[in-house]
Symmetry: C2
Subunit: 166 residues, 2 copies
Amino acid sequence: MILKFTEGRDRIVCEYCETIHYTNPKLVVGALSFWEDKVLLCKRAIEPRKGFWNVPAGYLEDFEKAEEGAIRETWEEAGTDIDIIQPYVIYNLPQANQVYIHFLAKLKDGIVRNGEESIESGLFTEEEIPWKEMAFTSSVFALRRFFEERKSGIFTIHLGTYPDKT
Amino acid sequence: MILKFTEGRDRIVCEYCETIHYTNPKLVVGALSFWEDKVLLCKRAIEPRKGFWNVPAGYLEDFEKAEEGAIRETWEEAGTDIDIIQPYVIYNLPQANQVYIHFLAKLKDGIVRNGEESIESGLFTEEEIPWKEMAFTSSVFALRRFFEERKSGIFTIHLGTYPDKT
């Protein structure tokens, strides 16, 4: 494989058969889930950012719907079921070649467990959130928007990019 | 490469070094752009669905922000600049292993041209849209939501899946 300027940009091309091997950003899906006045966070049991808190999220799997991925990740990380309300945040991480879709969701029963990918799961009010121990800015961005909008009860859709705004 | 049951699902694994080659759905980004009471559509000059009309869209490129991809695709297909208003539609195409993000956008000057990937570009009122000659259901879904919401002037965010609803 070689890098070759093709179709207006550098692409990975086989130097023998000239086949272009297209690569694209990865889609990460997650769910900002709430229960009464609290939100669900999980302490990561795996790298990167092991030991830091996060909104459950992970790579969308082949042939999966975006919201199914968010439901699956929430189960893997917090052992709990959610109802998706709406897409809530699109967050670009161009340096990591990732785009996040965070859904807004409601916990079905308010019970959280420690999923296999988490050291600990918990429900946090705005004041209790460990802001300085958050794993990723995508979660911070989503949480800030949620607590701003919760006052009005009207949730919109938000577009963000690291490092522009958290 | 072989398919091997790993991490709870079939993954593509090298049979010699056991490296897992992760594959994921592709992210397609587009823009539903309007000018006064008309929306921008382009007649595709390339397969698939050559000769059918579509909202400008295409694969997000490496290290690109989602909205940058939508702006680029609109330029490539219609030779026109847009201002992004908000993310508007998340649309799953699990059978094609794709997730679309369509943005709502406004044309900067109302002038459209034929980009290199289009046979023809045009601005259409709701009544003028060639509904039976549309290339992809993701565009139909976005257009239907747009014309429903335009009456109130309040645009939200929509989640859809083919073939559930258009």
